[in-house]
């Protein structure tokens, strides 16, 4: 640990965490390496692939483009927390039923991004179209599925949540 390490505290998946971290450490490296929260994945480390998508203070962010020290006092939610709370259970079930994942490496980030879209749609009482879904997920790279099944799964949940 370098001399420049800083104390930082935040709430991660509902748990208060206080750690000493190097200022250069990204949020996703902090979660994975220091806290063992390996559900957020590292794909490109420059904000393009979306594998480290997570929620900070209610907004989805790239865990590789945010530093851990920027999260002082923040509410951080990862795939582990979103799973445990049950908030995305229907999305997870739809991804499984539709085989909307193959290797699964992009999936935690993909589901976090999809949930962001669906939450906004619920707030505006709208149902996103397939094109809306494709557009919203266009920052999340999946090499396996070709996206069709992912769009199917998200669309199915969007319709179900809207009671259609």
């Amino acid at each position: 640990m370098s001399d420049h390490a800083l104390d930082v505290s935040m709430t991660i998946n509902g748990e208060r965490v206080a750690e000493r971290v190097e200022p250069r450490k990204t949020l996703v490296d902090f979660l994975r390496d220091d806290l063992g929260l390996t559900g957020s994945h590292v794909g490109c480390e420059h904000g393009v692939c979306g594998a480290c998508t997570m929620r900070v203070d209610g907004a989805i962010v790239r865990g590789c483009l945010m530093l851990a020290v920027q999260c002082e006092g923040a509410q951080v939610e990862t795939i582990e927390g979103l799973s445990d709370s049950g908030e995305i259970a229907d999305l997870q079930a739809a991804f499984e039923a539709r085989n909307a994942l193959q290797c699964g490496y992009c999936t935690p980030g993909m589901i976090a991004a999809a949930q962001d879209l669906l939450k906004r749609a619920e707030e505006t009482k709208s149902v996103p179209s397939r094109d809306d879904i494709r557009e919203h997920l266009s920052g999340n790279y999946c090499r396996c599925t070709g996206y069709h099944a992912i769009v199917d799964a998200v669309e199915a949940v969007a319709l179900a949540r809207a009671g259609k």
Partner: protein, 798 residues
Amino acid sequence: MKITPDSPPTLTALDRPNSYIGRSVPRPNLHRLTQGRGLYVSDVALPRMAHVAFVRSPHAHARIKSIAADAAKNSPGVIAVVTGAELAKVMTPWVGVLTHLKGLKSAPQSPIAVNVACWQGEAVCAVVARSRAQAEDACELVEVSYEELPAVTDPETALDPKTPVIHASLGDNLCFERKLDVGSVDKAFAESDAVVETTFMFGRHTGVTTEPRAVVADWNEGERRMTVYHATQAPHMMQDLFAKHLSLAADQVRVLTKDVGGSFGIKVHTYADEMATVALSKLLRRPVKFVADRIESFVTDIHARDHRVKAKIGVKKDGTITAFEIDDLTGIGPYSVYPRTSGIEANQVVILTGGPYTCANYRAQARVVFTNKNVMCQYRAVGHPIAVAVTEGLVELAAAKIGMDPLELRRRNLIADDAYPCASAAGLKFEQLSHHEALAHLDAMMNYAGLRAEQKKLRGQGIYRGIGFASFIEVTNPSAAFYGVGGARISSQDGATVKLDSQGAVTVHSGVTEQGQGAESVLAQCVATSFGVSMDKVRVITGDTDNTPYGGGTWASRAAGIGGEAAWQAGKALRGNVLAVAGAMLQAKPEDLDIRNGVVVDKATDTERLSLEELARVAYFRPDTLAPGFQAELMATRHYVPRAWPFAFTNGIQASYLEVDTDTGFVKLLKHWCIEDCGTIINPQLVDEQIRGGVVQGIGAALFEQCLYDERGQMLNGNMADYLVPMAAEMPDITCGHVVSPTADSELGAKGAGEAGTAGAPACIMNAINDALRPLGAHPLTDMPFTPGKILRALGKV
């Protein structure tokens, strides 16, 4: 869409009670992945684990004059700084050749470059530290003095006498050459009514797996045993290679592979930095982890498809194809990749071109040359995207030249569905294909006539849409003919062990691996069906050389067809063993009994006789109650390898419908269709998703992906911002359809389905773009990827 649950079909291809064959059951291993609870190698952390980062050559070709490491050694957290010469004491070099690719040659390759670095990105020094960040910090402090050497970067001039030879010991820069001349090609061209000649260019591209390559090696000096957590497609192959080059016995090496974040052929090769990591663990006697970062991935993950193909087709006025001729040139980097070699892709281009058609006149030449760029090797659909694009590109250009509909020209030349078994001009043996049925199915499914009418109408409004097709054949279920006969220790057979536990549930151990394609689900479906239990009673274990039968792993679309058949047979064998126990317990003839839904029943009446749990209880805990001399055997192993055919060829046809913006050169994909015949379909959903994912990978090659190098061998776009991959917004919905021609080589009859999408999609997109632009008089585009700039140039707008 709404998701409809799977329900059992009334009759299945393999008609057992409670059959899972032909059903879209969800994969049992998905829960942990959707919850972020997978275990990828990048997640693995072990006590005392160190991290390695590599100093990599900034030059395409350079002599390493000196390495000054003192400053790095004193950097915080550093455990060791190791050069190629030092690591050579622990690990022997390797040479990527196969004897059945006659004349193929390559030079010895070391885990870390010794004396000379041969491509930009080759590791020249390793730094091991307590964290990856510390290792990278120290890499900055290693001072390497280089003498830059001339770089060979253009395959076209690689064989010129004045071009420097990369490996002096080889004499020249030729890795491999293949020639074929069948029928009377010159006569056929002379007698043709039209001849089309063009040059196809294929962009060098790569797999861009979402999880980069990763390995954790753990040498235990106390056990004298190496455990390697490895994101690989072929654990047993890697066990063999790690052992060989560390001078260990194979049983001193255990390879563990759990979740793998995408592979597509990228993770089936020997990588110098992964070999170095394993050697470092032996040297340092502690666990060492290496995870490639994205830039390292771009300059060291194998590349593929950098081919230039001069090609020619002859055709009669009635549409009869008279001859094909190709001249393929490919630059594969400085080494043929071990152990599969870098000659296979060109060889595939030679043997697959023209493959769907009856045309008997075919001449081909392929030359594989060394260059100072990153190495190339087998990537999803090896050679197929090139052979299919060349063949189908020529077919549609010929159709346009004689004014015939492209589907009609195919109908007149595709091998008839009742002509099998037969062979192609290049000598490929086909058991049973279905080109015509697939074409008819596609024609109807896409409403071809309706689309043509729409296309014509829109052209009148200045909207340019194109329809493109690609018929294809695909190599699947390879026998020993692919690698084994050439001396590579790559298993074409695979095994499955099935055992009954003490509560009547079943565990399957298989040599194939799960890369996300659904292999574990397929294995569970096969065993559940052939043994006779519900799928929730079947647990699958793969990716552990200590605990699975020896096998080849996952590549060349073999996991379902070969691994699935072994599992199917092992399930049957265990059923026989269990019914022998049941017969002994019930005083019945085993042949009068069956296992259905986890219960031993009378075969004829379906009457319940005995639960598996009760049978297991007696067999394991009260064997004293069984007849004297009777021994229950509640584990069975079966192996399978294709023997009747060298490969189980599959076939199909794809179509693309797209719109070209003639002002911007952008291509909008409207719809894609694929009809495929992979024999017996074990899980329709998994097959369709393999096709969809494969199609999109092929679309990437056609429209976006290219590893750009300058003339000095520097990669210019080694990051995901500059190297474009398909994302959701640009991709079309993809409709799949099937024809089923099972192979008689196995009881299941399943052929592979993993690569067909990638094989056909680039050709389809190319043909659709050219179809869209034909009325504008554009010169046909044959240089992938088809970027907006190239399209505007073809239109004469820039």
